[in-house]
């Protein structure tokens, strides 16, 4: 498995990122990019990704991943009642509010 993965990694590193892929990433990330932004970012992301792909040169067979700077496990505390934000404070900075709730645009299509 190790050598197969090595191959896949090599081919990935040299694969350029296309404008269509950047448009797809923008959709996934909920960014309504303009055509000019897409042109601009496509070139830049390609250069950045080619550069960061250097991590694949490192022989890391059998090396565990580090997700966090320090080893941490779950932290527990007693379940104690404390004050929480009231309705007024929670809605104070809302872009739109109605009937003591956040008003949001429609979530479902009409049909």
């Amino acid at each position: 498995m190790g050598s197969d993965r090595g191959c896949a990694v090599d081919s990935l590193a040299s694969m350029p990122i296309t404008r269509d892929e950047v448009a797809h990433l923008a959709r996934l990330a909920r960014l309504a990019l303009s055509e000019q932004e897409l042109d601009h970012f496509a070139g830049q992301l390609d250069v950045i990704i080619a550069s960061v792909a250097r991590v694949q040169e490192v022989a890391a067979e059998g090396i565990p991943p580090t997700t966090h700077a320090l080893p941490i496990s779950n932290v527990y505390r007693d379940d104690v009642l404390t004050d929480c934000l009231g309705t007024r404070a929670a809605l104070d900075q809302a872009p739109a509010a109605e009937q003591d709730r956040f008003r949001v645009p429609r979530i479902l299509d009409e049909d």
């Binding site: 993965r5 896949a8 990694v9 990935l12 590193a13 990122i17 892929e21 950047v22 990433l25 923008a26 959709r27 996934l28 990330a29 909920r30 960014l31 309504a32 990019l33 303009s34 932004e37 601009h40 970012f41 830049q44 992301l45 250069v47 950045i48 990704i49 550069s51 960061v52 792909a53 250097r54 991590v55 694949q56 040169e57 490192v58 890391a60 090396i63 565990p64 991943p65 580090t66 997700t67 966090h68 700077a69 320090l70 941490i72 932290v75 505390r77 934000l85 404070a89 929670a90 104070d92 900075q93 809302a94 872009p95 739109a96 956040f102 949001v104 645009p105 429609r106 979530i107 299509d109």
Partner: protein, 508 residues
């Protein structure tokens, strides 16, 4: 005491003068507000100045003193807060249009601790949007300027705080360090900045960029003031699940000790050489020789995986950022664009995020989205996490041989505003030497070590210590600072000429 004199004093001196009644917290605060008024149109360190709140906080300290209450070691001393610490009485924008004018409903733990310590918050400082950048040029509200040379960057992302402290607008500043965002601005401004051990300072109420890396920390004009602030903000916080439940390292005692005799100092082979400005390397080499002359045992130590820290960081940090910044959806707070009654929530969200985020934030969100995509995850994010392990192992091996590691803080001095603004890879190089400590979580500081002869701009010496050995940074830093100040005969900032003629910033 004269207003100029008050803005020139150290935080420790100000606190002593307030405690003894030689001056008042209100006078100290007013002097700094005057200074801000005089120079901030040139420096643009602030996104928000809060004269009324600051004077009220100062009056409270004076009243407590008059009542004979005991005051903390920094009571009445003014401070500036990077604009990502939440504050109920001031806006918190993170340098972004998406949070323009936002008033958080709660204070960050660090904000609360500052208030309890009687520290006077003067206002909120400029930053690269959501802390992504090394120059403040990614702020939606325009860049800050380096008080040494107003045409150059003050570093970033905590560049508003570094500029304000350098321009004598405040003796103390707070920043956050994710890839170098405290140490790099401190270095290019000729001041001191510490990234504490990850988890040593609370992230509760600090708007998140990359949660496994973000570390709040102090900036000041000298090592002792930095240590005093480090102590005030540190310690366990039950509201942050990654906060360390252990005693705060004795940083203030170490700063007062200022003695490196017998300490083992390792020079990192990989952080120097090609790509580094000659004047930076020259001052760094002199600082190492100085340490040797002060009694430290200096050796060279190799950390072979450090050269992969930068690419690993630019996979890990954007991945975490793409996840953290998903919360900015225009629904509960912040900007909302295009809500015309016909568009769906998803369309409004996409329009809001396109309008509210700047270019660098968008680049990093997309880069993170890419690195976390199925099919690419193993090759990019997974591999970067393995590199992170290898870097932490390099540190572990190094700290078996030496007590601290040293390197230049940045490869170059402050660069001109605009030079790297649309060249992301060139900008990323500014954090070459600082990133390894963020990835491994250990403590690190930048202390000024002179001026580069070719441009007359400050150079930073980075000192790195093991996890929870933050005190060693201050022992070494204070020792270097004292020896250099004695050799020079005056504080480094006296040589800053950028604001000459505007109430003389440093220049005599």
């Amino acid at each position: 005491m004269a207003s100029t004199e008050l803005t020139r004093m150290t935080a420790a001196e100000l606190a002593a003068a307030i405690a003894s009644g030689e001056t008042s917290a209100v006078d100290v605060t007013q002097a700094h507000l005057n200074r801000i008024e005089a120079v901030d149109s040139s420096v643009h360190a602030f996104l928000h100045v809060a004269p009324e709140a600051a004077l009220a906080a100062a009056e409270a300290v004076d009243a407590r003193r008059a009542a004979g209450e005991p005051l903390g070691p920094l009571a009445g001393v003014p401070l500036v807060l990077k604009d990502l610490f939440t504050t109920t009485d001031m806006p918190t924008t993170c340098g972004s249009r998406i949070l323009e004018g936002w008033r958080p409903p709660y204070d960050a733990t660090i904000t609360t601790r500052l208030r309890r310590a009687g520290i006077v918050i003067l206002g909120k400082t400029n930053m690269d949007e959501f802390a992504m950048g090394s120059s403040t040029e990614n702020s939606a509200f325009g860049p800050s300027h380096n008080p040494w040379d107003l045409s150059r960057v003050p570093g970033g992302s905590s560049g508003g705080s570094s500029a304000a402290v350098t321009a004598f607008q405040a003796p103390l500043g707070l920043g956050t360090d994710t890839g170098g965002s405290i140490r790099q601005p401190a270095a290019v401004c000729g001041i001191v900045g510490t990234k504490p051990t990850y988890g040593g300072s609370s992230r509760y109420g600090v708007v998140a960029f990359a949660s496994s890396l973000d570390t709040p920390g102090p900036l000041a004009r000298n090592v002792l003031d930095t240590a005093l602030l480090h102590e005030v903000i540190s310690g366990h916080d039950p509201c942050d699940s990654t906060s360390i439940d252990a005693p705060v390292p004795p940083v203030v005692a170490a700063a007062r000790q200022a003695d490196v005799s017998g300490m083992r100092v390792g020079v990192v082979t990989e952080l120097g050489g090609e790509g580094y400005q000659p004047g930076v390397l020259g001052r760094f080499t002199e600082a190492v020789e100085l340490l040797e002359s002060l009694g430290a045992k200096v050796t060279e130590v190799s950390c072979p995986h450090f050269s992969y820290a930068l690419p690993a960081y630019y996979l890990i940090a954007p991945s975490e950022c793409s996840s953290n910044l998903a919360r900015f959806d225009g629904m509960r707070y912040g900007l909302r664009v295009g809500d015309d009654g016909t568009r769906s929530a998803e369309e409004v969200m996409s329009l809001t995020r396109d309008a509210g985020f700047g270019a660098e934030v968008k680049r990093r969100i997309m880069l993170g989205t890419y690195a976390l995509s199925s099919g690419y995850y193993d090759a990019y994010y997974g591999k970067a996490q393995q590199v992170r392990t290898l870097i932490a192992r390099d540190f572990d091996a190094a700290f078996e041989q030496v007590d601290v590691l040293v390197s230049p803080t940045t490869p170059t001095t402050a660069f001109p505003i605009g030079e790297r603004a649309d060249d992301p890879l060139a900008m990323y190089l500014a954090d070459l030497c600082t990133i390894p400590s963020d990835l491994s979580g250990n403590a690190a500081i930048s202390v000024p070590c002179g001026l580069a002869p070719e441009d007359g701009l400050p150079v930073g010496l980075q000192i790195m210590a093991p996890v929870l050995a933050d005190d060693r940074l201050y022992r070494v830093g204070a020792s270097v600072e004292a020896a250099l100040d004695q050799r020079r005969g005056h504080p480094l900032l006296d040589d800053a000429k950028g604001l000459k003629g505007e109430g003389e910033v440093g220049g005599k």
